[in-house]
Symmetry: C2
């Protein structure tokens, strides 16, 4: 198991990844339920989605399972937020 | 310069960090101007803020300048969003 160690630094990284990945779920749920997107920024979700796409590619190239897992979930969350903003934004 | 190389994979990571860090700025600006926080999720910004705090500590312990830089900016953005949500949320 040389070179593969989960020390306390890696545990902090894993907690960080779980928190930032999970954080978008209540926003997706709230927007899906209320269909209210008035105070959401379209540029934010557009730039964020493209940024997460780059993080996902980076994680794949770096062969980091935790980065690929976290960013695979976040790319779905950010795509949904972008879709909601464009879809429901037209009505407001 | 052995062990310190910026290859194309690192460039993808740097682009990813710039995009996700920059993405929150239009949201902070929009919320600051409009004071409208109705469609923002409080749990999202609370969990996200704590998550970024963990990423910042992780970056410091890993001695990653790009992680420390990106997360120092994002912790300010997410703190402002949390502050706006709590402050302006009371009025609505």
């Amino acid at each position: 198991m040389e070179g593969f160690k989960i020390d306390y630094i890696e545990i902090i990284g894993i907690v960080a990844a779980i928190l930032t990945t999970a954080s978008f779920l209540p926003q997706v749920y709230k927007t899906w339920k209320t269909k209210d997107v008035s105070s959401l920024s379209l540029p934010m979700w557009l730039i964020f989605f493209v940024g997460i796409l780059f993080w996902l590619v980076y994680g794949i190239l770096e062969k980091s399972i935790s980065m690929v897992l976290a960013n695979s979930i976040t790319i779905v969350s950010s795509f949904l937020m972008l879709y909601f903003k464009i879809k429901y934004g037209k009505r407001q």
